[in-house]
Symmetry: C2
Subunit: 238 residues, 2 copies
Amino acid sequence: MDKLLVPDGRTLKHVQVREYVRSLVTGSAPGSPAPSERELVHQFGVARMTVRQAMDALVVEGLLERIPGRGTFVARPRRAASRIVGFTEEMARRGLLAESVTLLARREQAGPGVARALNLTEGDAVIHWRRLRRADGQPMCLEDAYLNEVLLPGFLQSGMPTSLYDAFEARGLRPTWAEDSISADQASAEEAQHLEVETGGPVLRHSRRALSGEKVVEVSRSVYRSDRFTLWVQLGSD
Amino acid sequence: MDKLLVPDGRTLKHVQVREYVRSLVTGSAPGSPAPSERELVHQFGVARMTVRQAMDALVVEGLLERIPGRGTFVARPRRAASRIVGFTEEMARRGLLAESVTLLARREQAGPGVARALNLTEGDAVIHWRRLRRADGQPMCLEDAYLNEVLLPGFLQSGMPTSLYDAFEARGLRPTWAEDSISADQASAEEAQHLEVETGGPVLRHSRRALSGEKVVEVSRSVYRSDRFTLWVQLGSD
DNA sequence: TAGTGGTCTAGACCACTAT
DNA sequence: TAGTGGTCTAGACCACTAG
């Protein structure tokens, strides 16, 4: 819709009107009136259908709400399901500082499970990244991430970022879809050592397959200390 | 948009066109062409803007996709985040039969926590329903649900349903929004007895606050056997 | 009664795609 | 070159809301 079909300097009229109205109403309280359609027709000297096209977009976006016979008003913001975030942002939400210690970061050949999950062929190159993740200095989680090397060229060489999700963002690969599985279990001896808990103590296992559009960008398995971590999920939308 | 502003027998033209096109393309493979706009203009004898209004609705819905210069095509179905379902449907997804034994079902006065979660005042009447939930005959989960009695008049008297979510559905209270928290823990002695596991064994705790529009319809705490249950969540949308 | 959004017309020109 | 969707015009009548 927003693609430039008119590559000259001029801005589409319905876009002008749309952005003008958006600037007027952003920050306004829900229920505040937006300009009427005929008012905008006079202000911009355009046809009413053009104004309606502009307003339609804002209504679909959930910014405005039309009430026949009354007018157009700022809508109550829609609730939206949980955004897909990584450990760093998840901790930041809790007011905690995320830190990581890389335990392993190397190129591997994809095994059958990882290959299927990443939509690759067995033996293809994948990045395996294992980290102990801390929150405010305390061990929180042990994470094994498998990444498609083709999507992250030079990733291992260019120095690892703190936040994998920031790296996705920088490459235009922000996850838009995630399939998570969550279960309770007992810590293995190795997990217990890293997490500084008793072997056999309760842990939360969290697996994720994250996609950006059609591309699988992350397959990971994480194990969290159950005494420090509760997962929050919001589902649905208005 | 679909409200009847024309209460006489006639159907809005853009609705006629929209439903005609919908009937044509439902079942078609993604990428199949839809009729062109000018073709529909001739078929229905309407203005092009009317056809565009019809098609716009289907595009917003995600059923169609426009490609400038080429035409309008059936879109790849959008992925949608997890629907909000209860235990019965959650088990059905796994091919398991859900059964329940009611351990407690009574009217109570809301304590401070439940009152806040249900958007009520402390002391208001709530329904407290505790069930042992089985899947294919095996203990799976122990659930405490708190419900707003005002939204479910006669619920306790009229015989309890198998599925709470079916009861919501029947009253037009299908949950559209859920706030879940998930954690790992160890079974208490009482929980262990009901679930037939060792005291201190690993369990998954799942709390939910479910809303239908603005109304809080359910507040619940469930504890699952970790050896039989893994939670699946899909997040995001195309 | 005046104003609002909802529907609808009968055209027009544009940029883009495919042949 | 023919066809497609994208933009835009300058009106019209309708049902509904509010003063």
